[in-house]
């Protein structure tokens, strides 16, 4: 059990659990948080899970924990860990079941005040166009061959089908496609689950949200991204659906035996792993990339549906009703990257679970227009509270494997949220604030109540004060669609 007295304070925003805290740690744990945020997680197992994560073979540098951390199942949510290539491991649990769960941000030149009276109709159109909810199937019914193409091509498949523009792909992490995906490493069961679900939002904490760009902090970056104060934006939060869930389950199951084969001993079975260059590790990487590409395509299709909703409702009311892509990022992912560790540039597998890539200025993989400023980092807040657009910094490259936070982070269990908050009352409260809500389940709505989450402004302030991201814009919700 980690106590706050076990932490070494590096600054008001950075702390360390030293490697000596427990005998089986391979590296220390570095936590980006205020004291208040750390005290808030003393009642859950976030830090214990971070210590457990620090036992994985082949880790380099330190395990990083972001200020939106909370208890997960194995890795903490908000965790980043890098293993050395080739002799380190890859851990499916360090990426998560919802592979490439992430966020897409679209922006517009639609002034909020011009369309305020149409927002309720817009919420209905988004709800109608974008399939959501438990067990929902999509409008697209993929054949086996088409699913293979989605796996290999990701957003490129969506572009060929007419769901995406070249600019959409350019402004997506990895251009919307991880190379090296192999559909042959995906089980029949995962394929069965994935084929009917492309273009669906899912449920739980997934959402489509229309926001007002409330405040700009970095005018130059905002201009580059096309963010205009007082205008509307749209966030889409979802992942790889049952396809990704099944792939992760398949490999977590398989790796229960694999760790014995490679004589790997772990404090938590959910941390099971395989050496990166082993056949098992390579098979998982190839399957994970299929799920990642599926999720990129999924968000692309949903973006297309969202654009259609905007056109249907607003084309007659306002001149510039179109939505352009700002960026699309993953926050559950494993990537092979190069980072400087103790002065040496090395190849590593970066596991990000509830953490976002946040590459700083100069990275060649960014679209040309973003290369000088750094990668956009999207931080959705809880329902009814603010969201943020940040940019990555050189500081993140040096201190957090080019990573930053991914959201507000929960502080309250779903059970307690449902007991404390009545869904109907919450909806009424949010609508009283001018936020138009479409939710499939009042119980599900209650679980996502704002009081169940940390203060996103504090989370963002922490990463900016710590120097691993920089503020660009603050957004507030005006319509939310939840499954």
């Amino acid at each position: 059990m980690v106590n706050i007295k076990d932490l070494i304070r590096i600054s008001d925003y950075e702390w360390e659990i030293p490697r000596t805290f427990r005998h089986d740690m391979q590296v220390p744990v570095r936590i980006f948080a205020t004291r208040k945020l750390i005290e808030a997680v003393m009642d859950d197992k976030s830090l214990e899970q971070a210590v457990n994560s620090a036992t994985l073979p082949g880790l380099v540098g330190h395990v990083v924990v972001m200020p939106d951390m909370h208890q997960g199942y194995g890795f903490p949510i908000g965790g980043v860990a890098a293993t050395r290539f080739p002799d380190g491991v890859i851990s499916p649990g360090g990426i998560g079941y919802d592979i490439n769960c992430g966020v897409r941000l679209l922006a517009s030149q639609i002034p909020y005040e011009d369309v305020e009276s149409r927002l309720d109709a817009l919420a209905s159109a988004l709800d109608h166009n974008c399939p959501s909810g438990v067990g929902t199937k999509g409008h697209i019914h993929l054949t086996e061959a088409e699913l293979d193409q989605v796996c290999r091509d990701g957003s490129r498949w969506a572009q060929k089908q007419g769901y995406a523009s070249p600019a959409d792909l350019r402004r997506t992490e990895e251009s919307g496609c991880l190379e090296g995906a192999d559909p042959g490493k995906v089980s029949k069961r995962a394929r069965e689950r994935g084929r009917p679900q492309l273009g669906t939002l899912g449920s739980g904490n997934h959402f489509i949200e229309v926001d007002l760009i409330e405040q700009i902090f970095d005018r130059e970056a905002a201009q580059t991204m096309g963010l205009v104060e007082g205008c509307l934006a749209v966030q889409i939060h979802c992942g790889s659906r049952g396809f990704g869930h099944q792939i992760c389950s398949d490999y977590v199951n398989e790796f229960q035996k694999v760790v014995q084969r490679y004589n790997i001993h772990l404090p938590d079975r959910e941390l099971v792993c395989a050496p990166l260059t082993s056949p098992e590790g390579q098979n998982y990487l190839a399957a994970m990339r299929c799920a990642a590409n599926y999720a990129f395509a999924n968000r692309q299709v949903l973006a297309h549906y969202a654009r259609k909703a905007f056109e249907d409702v607003l084309a007659g009311s306002t001149r510039h009703w179109q939505l352009h892509q700002v960026y699309d990022i993953a926050h559950n992912m494993g990537k092979i990257e190069q980072h400087v560790i103790e002065g040496e540039r090395i190849k590593v597998c970066v596991h990000r679970k509830g953490a976002t890539r946040a590459f700083g200025p100069g990275y060649e993989g960014l679209p040309e227009e973003y290369r000088q400023m750094g990668q956009p980092v999207l931080v959705p807040g809880s329902m009814g509270t603010a969201s943020w657009v940040l940019v990555g910094t050189q500081g993140s490259m040096e201190r957090s494997f080019g990573s930053s936070c991914h959201g507000a982070g929960r502080v309250m269990s779903r059970a307690r949220a449902k007991k404390s908050v009545w869904g109907e009352d919450l909806r009424a409260s949010l609508e009283g604030k001018g936020i138009h809500i479409r939710a499939g389940s009042m119980g599900g709505l209650a679980e996502e109540a704002p009081e169940a989450y940390k203060d996103v402004d504090e989370v963002v302030q922490t990463v900016t004060e710590a120097g691993i991201a920089s503020k660009v814009a603050r957004l507030v919700p005006v319509a939310v669609v939840k499954g």
């Binding site: 859950d44 976030s46 909370h70 208890q71 997960g72 199942y73 194995g74 949510i77 649990g93 998560g96 079941y97 919802d98 438990v134 067990g135 069961r189 069965e192 689950r193 899912g202 449920s203 739980g204 049952g242 869930h245 992760c248 389950s249 977590v252 199951n253 229960q256 035996k257 938590d268 079975r269 959910e270 099971v272 929960r410 502080v411 309250m412 269990s413 779903r414 059970a415 307690r416 389940s441 119980g443 599900g444």
Partner: protein
């Protein structure tokens, strides 16, 4: 929830769902875990036509067999829209079979993404077996 000899109870977990389950033996533990999972999901069966399903599950230890069984139920739920309320379970070494009396799901309130192995251990107690499960939602 069931009486003292077998049952389930939800535990606090910040982001996911956690369930304590207990029963006199492994088949009973599997049933209580399934009942608990259905309860968390808000699953409700339709009255009327019943269907029979036979599912196989396996694992090298009780924990793996428990996860395997629940994963089969999640798969059945998602792909066929079926849930069970009566079952006969047999376990023979690493393998098990469940004969399920199923009906269509009239309602499902929440999606479970996965059954995890997080801190999963099947313990022997004075009254039988106990385990704590974490589900990703």
């Amino acid at each position: 929830m069931a009486g003292q000899s077998s049952g389930f109870r939800e535990k606090e977990h910040t982001a996911d769902w956690e369930l304590d389950v207990w029963a006199p033996d492994l088949p009973g533990l599997l049933v209580e875990a399934a009942r608990g999972m259905y309860w968390l999901m808000g699953a409700r069966l339709e009255h009327g036509q019943r269907q029979h399903r036979s599912i196989a599950f396996s694992g090298e230890d009780d924990e793996s067999r428990l996860v395997s069984f629940l994963q089969e139920l999640l798969y059945l739920c998602e792909t066929e829209g079926l849930g069970f309320d009566q079952v006969e379970i047999t376990v023979d070494g690493n393998h098990g079979r469940a004969e399920l009396s199923c009906a269509a799901l009239a309602h499902l309130g929440k999606e479970v993404k996965a059954v995890t192995y997080h801190n999963l251990a099947v313990h022997e107690t004075s009254k039988g077996l106990q385990a704590t499960l974490v589900f990703d939602v």
